[in-house]
Symmetry: C2
């Protein structure tokens, strides 16, 4: 029997130096459960995107809650997840080149890895990885649905690329993938389904994603799988688009007021190296985050290590030395900036978790 009284007293996260990225475990678990319950209720495969947290600990919470598998954006993220024991991954990114083929081949030896592609060069990379590993690799064709980033533009092009996938002896065309999840998805998938049937192509998977709109994913007829990343933590963008509430936000940046030069502003010890320079979409709220204790304050300007709070709209003002908590605009790149996060329960430190997949390309 362990003697709990022999343990050192538990640390409060308020005792940890700033800037600090703190993750609330109870809220994370609640967010994971909510997404899983939603997907279960609507018979959607849940495949959370780990880019938001980059933590094996949370990845396994998501799997234990019932996720079908996980989504990664880079081979490096996949390598970290597989090393941590994850065995079912979707890589939603065009891989190009021999080095990437070799890395994918190694992953295919250890896990069920699916890859999304939108062009033949990326298809060649996946085909090469299958050949190198001797393992079958599932392929999804990415299509355009409003982001104007990647993705084939027409259902015909999706079919043609899937036919090329089918020609490869070790590749399995599984279906389609897109981001974001707009109304355009439904029409595209309906037309593609007809074309795929005509061509004798399987369409087992239609994977959509994105935290904005996640609670209406069931309205996207034809979608079989959903990839949400941000919803595990939520952020200021979640508050703006309605996908989460302030009580759902599970990651806060703890900062200290380090300078108070005049009546209109104070300076905090977190800048773009913690909060990133990501703004909300044009026309939405200004600033680089929401200060929980002073919501009228505007995080007006960031240098790398400084954040300037504009206090002109505030009734009260923070004091020099005061500790504040910030909800970042976009939480995913925040995880990517820090080497570790403080996992806590009600403010009691549970672990300093290394952000193992940080910066992994």
């Amino acid at each position: 029997m362990s003697d709990a009284s022999a343990l050192p007293p538990l640390t409060r996260i308020e005792a940890l130096d700033t800037p600090l990225v703190a993750v609330d475990l109870a809220r994370v678990e609640r967010n994971i459960a909510a997404l899983q319950a939603y997907c279960d209720a609507h018979a959607l495969d849940n495949r959370p995107h780990i880019k938001t947290h980059k933590l094996p600990f949370i990845a396994h919470l998501q799997l234990r809650a019932g996720a079908r598998g996980l989504t990664v954006q880079t081979l490096g993220e996949a390598e970290v997840m597989v090393a941590s024991g994850v065995r079912d991954l979707l890589l939603t990114y065009d891989l190009v080149g021999e080095t990437k083929a070799q890395r994918l081949a190694r992953l295919a030896l250890l896990a069920d890895v699916r890859v999304a592609i939108d062009n033949e060069l990326a298809l060649d990379t996946v085909g090469r990885a299958a050949a190198l590993s001797g393992r079958r690799i599932g392929v999804l064709v990415e299509f355009e649905s409003g982001k104007r980033r990647q993705g084939v533009l027409t259902p015909e092009a999706a079919r043609d690329l899937a036919l090329r996938v089918q020609e490869h002896p070790l590749l399995d065309p599984l279906g389609l993938m897109t981001y974001p999840s707009s109304a355009e998805v439904v029409a595209f998938v309906a037309r593609a389904r007809a074309l795929f049937e005509e061509a004798g192509l399987p369409l087992h998977v239609v994977s959509a994603g994105g935290t904005p709109g996640m609670w209406r994913a069931h309205e996207l007829t034809g979608v079989t799988e959903y990839r949400a990343g941000t919803s595990v933590y939520h952020d200021r963008k979640s508050l703006e688009d309605g996908s989460g509430t302030l009580d759902d936000v599970a990651l806060h940046v703890h900062v200290t007021v380090v300078s108070s030069p005049d009546a209109d502003r104070v300076v905090i010890d977190a800048g773009s190296k913690v909060l990133t320079s990501d703004l909300l979409p044009a026309g939405r709220e200004a600033g680089y985050g929401l200060v929980l204790e002073y919501p009228e304050a505007v995080v007006r300007e960031l240098s790398e290590e400084h954040g300037v709070l504009d206090l002109r709209a505030c009734r009260a003002r923070p004091s020099l030395g005061e500790r504040l908590r910030i909800v970042p605009n976009h939480v995913c790149p925040v995880s990517n900036l820090v080497d570790e996060v403080a996992l806590h329960e009600g403010g009691t430190l549970l672990a300093m978790l290394p952000v193992v997949a940080r910066g992994k390309r």
Copy 2:
């Protein structure tokens, strides 16, 4: 005698996978020499800011070239630099709290560390570090010169804070520090000099900084020391403000075209996780970087791993799979995002240098 023929053949950086951050050693050395020669010609102490490169290797090149010491923005950067053998540092940041006092005390035992402050709480932290270590610590008072970030607002306030520094038995008031280096500096320093003399306060050091305007630092009468960071690499902002030319740019992000969905755009495998979301100041050039091979291309939008190039102004267009080099808008946060950089000479890989001070707070 070593047998050079037994060495493996040298790697070309073009053979390294993308995204890759490549640093041109010859250009770095030239940039370092140019800054040192300028400072020498104008009898300015040169104290480069290591936040741009975060590399001990380059820090020691700067010292070897004649720098008086180095500048850091965080205790973590200072700890890395001291561990690498640097013995003279200026920390240009208000430190607040007992943990930071303890860390500063440990540094003071190993190196000559000066600290800039703009308030009494930060002064208390430095005083506490001096008391803990038993070492003298030099203090500069930071003043406002147009950035509206930190710094006391008036020469009178600078004098009053310097008098408080002087009261501490182990603290040495050395002078003043500011950022950026605007015309306001001269008037502030002139007035402060009179007040400091009147009060019997030393004003040995007036430290100004910033790569924009660096070649006119000698016009700032009263300034004794200059801190430039970006000038070791330069970036798109240097090109815009005239502090550097395209031939001076020593850091490039190598990327690959991974998708080519339509005639107007291609997608590269570098997004905000390499290039950052930093834009140029409003009214300047658009986009998230300059594509060397296609300067008319606009890096229109970044996701974390994707960059969308708008090709509408281009005569030629990059092919799928083509490798490109990007000059980032703001190079300092790029260093902070990568675990290592490829140091090369004319494209021949010299070393994969770990960015040891990355993310160190």
